[in-house]
Structures are given as structure tokens and as C-alpha cells.
């Protein structure tokens, strides 16, 4: 048996910096500093988007090299001589020692989706600077720290879930509150994501056609993999991607045929389609739809990120908006209401700090890690990559004409829905945009209209289409637009399938504690009814969003952002608790600073959304305003009749109650945790559920690229393993 010592140990001699290393990192720091300075000092001039891109890349590199390593070595004290759960419990299924680069791919595919593409687009109404700063600073000090620490703590506990860890380490009250919060937040996230798809596809026959075709394509792939060529995933995915691209191209011809009218679907019809789809997808066997769709979605994810990075460098677009707009200061923006603080920090969740990642970092990933030191590369590195996606999306929204941006992103109640009324509305915001320009922009991407295409996806698609057309040429604006809509919808539908399924398992597990039979995930009646409950829950919220006269995105997106970051508060709270319980109060600031910041922003935002007397912001103030008007027999714009007045009152009240509930659940978790903190600090540490150390025999490099020493160690280990097995 091999007993080679692992490559890195905590507290070992620190490597001395080499002159080459100093030169390289000094150079990267210089590039970053120059980019940030240009961004900070440019006022009213043409600013290239590349300054943002390189400021981001340089900052990520430095954070990964220095801060992430500091967290790994000093704060968490990762110990490669300790066997990971994958090594100890290896069963070839969920527990499986996985190559670090492969696991990085799996983890990234699981965390990144449509979120980092949507939030930054909406936040662009406040200018390019607030979003840029929050995405970069947020990911370095909060988002990536959360992902890495949760991954580490879950790994030290055999891959326990976030909810389980909160219950065992904080307490039953906190644990129960966390469990309810996780479930409710997931429902909101699914509803808002589905709303983005509905808004992107409504009245767009081309979009409906090509997205609709992804279902038969995925089914075909599923059957192909199961019956014709079992296991040939790459081959199947290649066929699937080819079919997908064909579906986008053919979609362009649909408008002129008889099918065009049939596929022009209203928001309401699409909502019903999506709800039915969500239910069917979640009860079908995974091999049929979910798994093949996941392959497609992962492939598109990687492809688009690479294309976007190359496209941005080739096109070198110029930012069209101000660094900070007046909406950021006055809080009266049409896309969403509220001032820069706290709303930019909750509009951009994914890409800066996303609580949902804590569910993934405490799910499958910790069970597959080969060496403890890999938490840095996979947890921190994976989140940096998602942040890069968010930065690219922000750039795409900032390089399009700002009149067009506001015409697309303001709710229909404000723009009036036609090109001329939208141009007039945009004029009142201080932008010049002729109705002709709007119509031409829509014609260029072959859409009936671009007015009030809220939700972020169409705006991003216009931005990407512009960047790709500039970068690669060829007059393919319409193709690139629909290509972007396609991949975003693909991510979202995958998230909806998978999320509904996870929600169903959570529900079955919870009810199974009381009624044992219901917990059996193979028992059809339980599976079907649990799926129906989950779909009904997000379906209702989706319906609320779609039919809201005030604009669903305008109303629901803040709820989505706040809930995602409240989940992050729960995750960071757990990290602080564990730091104190492990007697590492000295380093507790690492998770505590992001936790405090996150609580300040989310609680301020929650407070404003619940108690603000400004009807544009406070849900209850909004409901009151419309209730008083209704009782006085009036109809307030944008409502057109009494029915819509009632709708606004019901929706706003529902949103307000949900918002309040989430905030209270998080306060319960935090309060419970503070009690544990006090006890832990007094005692200088408390016992935890950490699994005792077992010596590791696996040898693997620590970072993306192996050093010469690491390669030699791996070779030696593999050699000894071979001779060992022959004996």
C-alpha cells in the first residue's frame, strides 16, 4: 500500500517568493490598478468595456492567488494528510474520488445558470460602476468565500446538507427555520426564473419554436442514450447541439408560415405551458428529459462563456451608459424601484453572492473531492468563474443604446406597449430615441417588438447579438439574438426541472418524518402529489408575476434577490458558528464581515419592501394605495379596470407577506446562532459534528496546474499502487 506523504501540509514552511513570481504578480496587480483607476476617473468620456473586463480578471487572479490561499491555509487549515469523504466512503456512486479539474467542471455547471445573466442586466439601470464594483468586490470577499467555506465544512462532515448542518451545529429552532426558508426561497427562485422565460418567449414565434424543439431533441437524446447507444454521452450531445442550432436557424423561417400565428403565444398561455411542462418533467424518469437536457445546457454554458469572452475582446465595445445614473441616487428607476443602497446589492445576487450555491456546495460536490486543498480551486475558483459570467452580462447590457435599454426594460404600464408611446416615455427619462429606431431594432433581430420585453433575457440577447455581430461579422444579428434567448431559456428550464425535483424530494423527506410511506421516493402517489404541490407553488407565483399590471419583474425580482441573499446569510451564519466552535475566533472576520454586510443590505431592503410608505417600493404601501383608490371607486394607472385593481392589491399583499416571512425566518436563524456564538466564545470552542481525521493515501496536485514536484509525487504514488495491486 502507498504511504507517500501528501503534497501540502498546513503550517509547513512557507514558500519563498521567487523573482519571477514577484514580477508576474506585480504585473497583474499593475494591470488591475490601471483598469480600476481608468474606471474611477473617467467622467463623460467614451469608456471601453475592456477596462471592466480586465479590472475583473486581474482582481480575480490576485484574490485567488492570495486571499483564497490565505483562507485555505490559515483560516480553514485544509489538511491534505486527511482523507476526504470521497476517499473514505468511496462507493463508485455519490462518494467518488474525482479529478479536481473534472469536479470543477461539474461544480461550475451546477452553480452557474441564468441568474448571473439576469441580475446585472437589470442593475445596469444604475450605471456600469455600481454593478461592476459589487460583482468584483462581492465575489472576492463574500460569494466565493461562502462557497468555499460551506464546501469545506460540508466535506468535513461527510457531505451533509446545509439544513442538516444548521440543525446540528446551531439548533433545532434555527434548523427548522432554515429548512422552511430553503424550501420557500427555492419556490420563489423557480417562479422568477420561469417568469424570465415567459417574458422572453411571449409573442415571439421564433423563440417558442426553437425552445419548444428542445423538448423533442432532449427526448430523442434520452432514448438514443438508453436504447441505441448506451453511455455514448459525447456523441449524443454533439448530435443534440447540432439539432439545437438547426432549430434556431429553422425558427427564423417560421414567422412567414402558417405556424407563425399558432406559435405567437400570450404570457398567460405560456405560463400554463410552463406549469404543465414543469410537472411532467419532474415526474418523468430522469434519463428521458432531465439528464439529456443537462448535457445540452452544460455544453451551451461553456460554449457561450468562451464565445462571449472572445467576442468582447474582438469587438472592444464602448459603454453607452453613465458610470452612475440619477436613478441610483433618487431611487426612481423604471426597471426596479429603490436607491443604489441597498437595491444594487440585492438585484445582483448570482455572480457576487448567491445563497443558492450553499445548497450545491453542501450537496454532491463535497462527496467527490479528492483532496482537502481542492476546496479552494473548486469552491472559490468556481464562483470566480460565475462572477466573470456576471461581468460579461453587465457589459452586454451597458453597451446597447440606453434609450433602447429603458424601452425594453420598463414595464408595459409605463411604456404603453407601442413604439411611439415607448419613445415618448424614454424621452421623459432624458434619452432620445425615435419610434423608427425602436422598430428597426426589433426588425433587426426579427422580433415583432422590443418594447417592454422585461426580464433581462431579451436585453442581454440584444447586447450579445450586437457584440457578436461586431466581433464575428456576417449580419447574423437575428441568429445571435435567438441563440442567446435559446441558451438562457435552456439554463432556466433545466433549473426548473431540477429544482422542482429537488423540491419534491425535500417535501417528501419532510412529510416522510410524520407519515413514513410518503417519504418513499419510488412510491408514485407520493411522488406525483409532492411534485404537484411544488409546481403549484411556483406556478402560482409565476402567475402572480405574469398578470401583475405593475410588471412582474419590477415586482418580483427584488423578492428573488433578497431571498437568495437571505439564504446566503444563513450559510454565512453557519460558517461563523463553525469558526467559533472550532476555536478559531481569531479568523472569524472572514465569514463575519460578509455576513454583517449581507444582513445590513438584505434587512434594509426587506424593511423598505415591507414598511416603506413609498408605494413604488413598499408592498403594503402599494396595496394600501390601490385599496383606498378602489374603495373610492377610482382606477389607478397602470390598472385598467377594477379587476386589475384587485389583482394589484392581492399580489402586493402576497409579496409583502412572503418578504416579511423570509426576513423573520432568517432573524430566527441568526438569533439562534448568536446564542451558540456566545457559548462558543466563552468556552473557547465547542464540540462539533466534524468527522475525526483519517490518514489519506490519495496523492493529487492542489491547483489547476500541477507543479513539477506534484507531478513526480503523483507518478510515484501511481507506480506504488500498481505494484501494490499486483501483489
Amino acid at each position: 500500500m502507498a504511504t507517500t506523504t501528501p503534497v501540502r501540509r498546513p503550517g509547513g514552511p512557507r514558500r519563498r517568493p521567487t523573482p519571477a513570481g514577484v514580477a508576474i504578480w506585480g504585473g497583474i496587480a499593475l494591470v488591475g490598478a490601471v483598469c480600476w483607476t481608468v474606471l474611477a476617473l473617467s467622467r463623460g468620456e467614451e469608456v471601453s468595456a475592456l477596462w471592466i473586463l480586465f479590472a475583473a480578471l486581474a482582481s480575480y487572479a490576485i484574490a485567488y492567488r492570495f486571499y483564497a490561499r490565505f483562507i485555505a491555509d490559515r483560516v480553514l487549515q485544509v489538511d491534505d494528510s486527511r482523507a476526504t469523504p470521497a476517499e473514505r466512503l468511496e462507493n463508485g456512486q455519490d462518494f467518488d474520488v474525482t479529478d479536481r479539474r473534472v469536479l470543477f467542471g461539474h461544480h461550475f455547471a451546477a452553480i452557474a445558470g441564468a441568474g448571473p445573466l439576469v441580475g446585472p442586466v437589470l442593475a445596469a439601470q444604475m450605471g456600469y460602476l455600481p454593478g461592476t464594483i459589487w460583482i468584483i468586490v462581492g465575489v472576492i470577499l463574500a460569494g466565493a468565500v461562502q462557497d468555499m467555506m460551506v464546501l469545506f465544512f460540508s466535506m468535513r462532515r461527510d457531505g451533509k446538507s446545509l439544513g442538516q448542518m444548521v440543525r446540528e451545529e446551531i439548533g433545532v429552532v434555527g434548523g427548522t427555520a432554515a429548512l422552511i426558508a430553503v424550501f420557500a426561497i427555492m419556490i420563489i427562485i423557480l417562479a422568477v426564473l420561469a417568469l424570465v422565460v415567459v417574458n422572453a418567449l411571449a409573442e415571439s414565434p421564433w423563440g417558442v419554436f426553437s425552445i419548444g424543439l428542445t423538448i423533442p431533441i432532449a427526448l430523442f437524446m434520452g432514448f438514443y442514450l438508453r436504447y441505441l447507444r448506451p453511455g455514448r454521452v459525447s456523441e449524443t450531445t454533439a448530435i443534440g447541439v447540432a439539432l439545437l442550432l438547426a432549430a434556431i436557424i429553422v425558427g427564423g423561417w417560421i414567422d412567414d408560415t402558417g405556424l407563425g400565428d399558432t406559435l405567437t403565444l400570450s404570457h398567460e398561455t405560456l405560463t400554463i405551458c410552463l406549469i404543465v411542462y414543469g410537472f411532467v418533467a419532474s415526474v418523468l424518469p430522469v434519463w428521458m428529459l432531465l439528464t439529456p437536457r443537462d448535457y445540452l445546457s452544460t455544453f451551451m454554458k461553456v460554449g457561450v462563456i468562451v464565445l462571449l469572452a472572445v467576442g468582447l475582446v474582438l469587438a472592444r465595445p464602448v459603454l453607452q451608459n453613465d458610470d452612475i445614473t440619477s436613478f441610483a441616487m433618487d431611487g426612481d428607476g423604471p426597471v426596479f424601484a429603490g436607491k443604489l443602497f441597498p437595491f444594487v446589492f440585492i438585484t445582483i445576487a448570482c455572480g457576487a453572492l448567491s445563497g443558492f450555491h450553499a445548497l450545491i456546495a453542501s450537496g454532491t460536490t463535497p462527496k467527490m473531492i479528492a483532496k482537502e486543498s481542492h476546496v479552494r480551486m473548486i469552491g472559490y475558483g468556481g464562483m470566480l468563474m460565475e462572477s466573470f459570467v456576471a461581468i460579461s452580462a453587465l457589459i452586454a447590457a451597458c453597451v446597447i443604446d440606453q434609450g433602447l435599454y429603458f424601452a425594453m426594460n420598463s414595464p408595459a404600464g409605463a411604456t404603453g406597449g407601442t413604439a411611439s408611446s415607448a419613445a415618448e416615455f424614454v424621452g421623459t427619462l432624458g434619452f432620445t430615441l425615435s419610434p423608427d429606431t425602436l422598430t428597426q431594432a426589433a426588425a433587426a433581430v426579427q422580433e415583432p417588438t422590443l418594447v417592454s420585453r422585461t426580464g433581462g433575457a431579451p436585453t442581454l440577447a440584444v447586447g450579445i447579438s450586437q457584440i457578436f455581430s461586431d466581433a464575428f461579422g456576417g449580419g447574423l444579428a437575428a441568429f445571435w439574438y435567438h441563440f442567446s434567448i435559446m441558451f438562457e431559456a435552456l439554463f432556466i428550464l433545466t433549473a426548473v426541472d431540477a429544482g422542482t425535483r429537488v423540491g419534491r424530494f425535500m417535501l417528501q423527506d419532510t412529510i416522510g418524518n410524520v407519515w413514513h410511506r410518503f417519504g418513499d421516493t419510488s412510491w408514485k402517489p407520493a411522488a406525483w402529489s409532492a411534485s404537484a404541490i411544488v409546481v403549484a407553488a411556483w406556478g402560482y407565483m409565476l402567475y402572480v408575476g405574469v398578470t401583475d399590471p405593475l410588471g412582474g419583474i419590477n415586482q418580483l425580482f427584488p423578492l428573488f434577490g433578497i431571498s437568495n441573499q437571505l439564504l446566503a446569510a444563513i450559510a454565512l451564519c453557519l460558517c461563523v458558528t463553525l469558526m467559533l466552535k472550532h476555536g478559531k475566533a481569531r479568523w472569524v472576520w472572514v465569514p463575519l464581515v460578509p455576513l454583517v454586510w449581507d444582513l445590513v443590505t438584505t434587512m434594509t431592503a426587506s424593511w423598505q419592501k415591507v414598511f416603506s410608505d413609498n408605494p413604488a417600493i413598499g408592498y403594503f404601501a402599494q396595496a394600501d394605495r390601490y385599496r383606498e383608490a378602489r374603495d373610492a371607486g377610482q382606477v389607478l394607472a397602470p390598472a385598467k379596470d377594477g379587476g386589475q385593481m384587485d389583482q394589484i392589491i392581492t399580489n402586493s399583499t402576497t409579496n409583502g407577506v412572503l418578504q416579511l416571512t423570509f426576513a423573520i425566518l432568517v432573524i430566527v436563524v441568526v438569533a439562534n446562532a448568536v446564542l451558540v456564538w456566545i457559548r462558543a466564545i466563552r468556552a473557547g470552542g465547542l464540540p462539533t459534528t466534524e468527522v475525526p481525521a483519517v490518514p489519506s493515501h490519495v496523492v493529487a496536485p492542489a491547483d489547476f496546474f500541477a507543479t513539477a514536484d506534484e507531478k513526480a509525487a503523483v507518478r510515484e504514488w501511481e507506480q506504488s499502487r500498481l505494484t501494490g495491486s499486483r501483489r
Binding site: Q93, P230, G231, G363, S522
Partner: protein, 61 residues
């Protein structure tokens, strides 16, 4: 040329690992080592798909 071939091998290795295709080869190798007759690829893949059925994985926003 060798650099190109190495790069191609690397990409191929990565894709096969990521999609899980390499797992089948590992299984066959393991069976050969232990002198066991491996089950058919169809049956083996089906077994893996069934395991996935009861282990849902969230996809984030």
C-alpha cells in the same frame, strides 16, 4: 504536431471524464483485474441512471 496531439488527448480525456464515459472503461478494467465478467454496457448504464433517479441534483439560478 506532438503538442497538438497532446492537447487533443487532453481535451478528449476531459470530455470523457466530465460526461462519465470514462467510468465504463474503469469498470471494465476493474472487472478484468478482479477476474469478473463485466455486465453489459446497457445494463450498467441503466443501473447508473436508476441511481441518479433517486439522487436529485439542484441546478442553480
Amino acid at each position: 504536431m506532438t503538442a497538438l496531439a497532446r492537447a487533443w488527448r487532453g481535451v478528449r480525456w476531459y470530455v470523457r471524464e466530465l460526461t462519465g464515459e470514462a467510468r465504463w472503461d474503469e469498470y471494465v478494467e476493474r472487472c478484468a483485474r478482479d477476474d469478473v465478467v463485466p455486465m453489459s454496457r446497457r445494463a450498467w448504464e441503466r443501473h447508473r441512471a436508476d441511481a441518479k433517479e433517486h439522487d436529485p441534483q439542484a441546478r442553480c439560478c
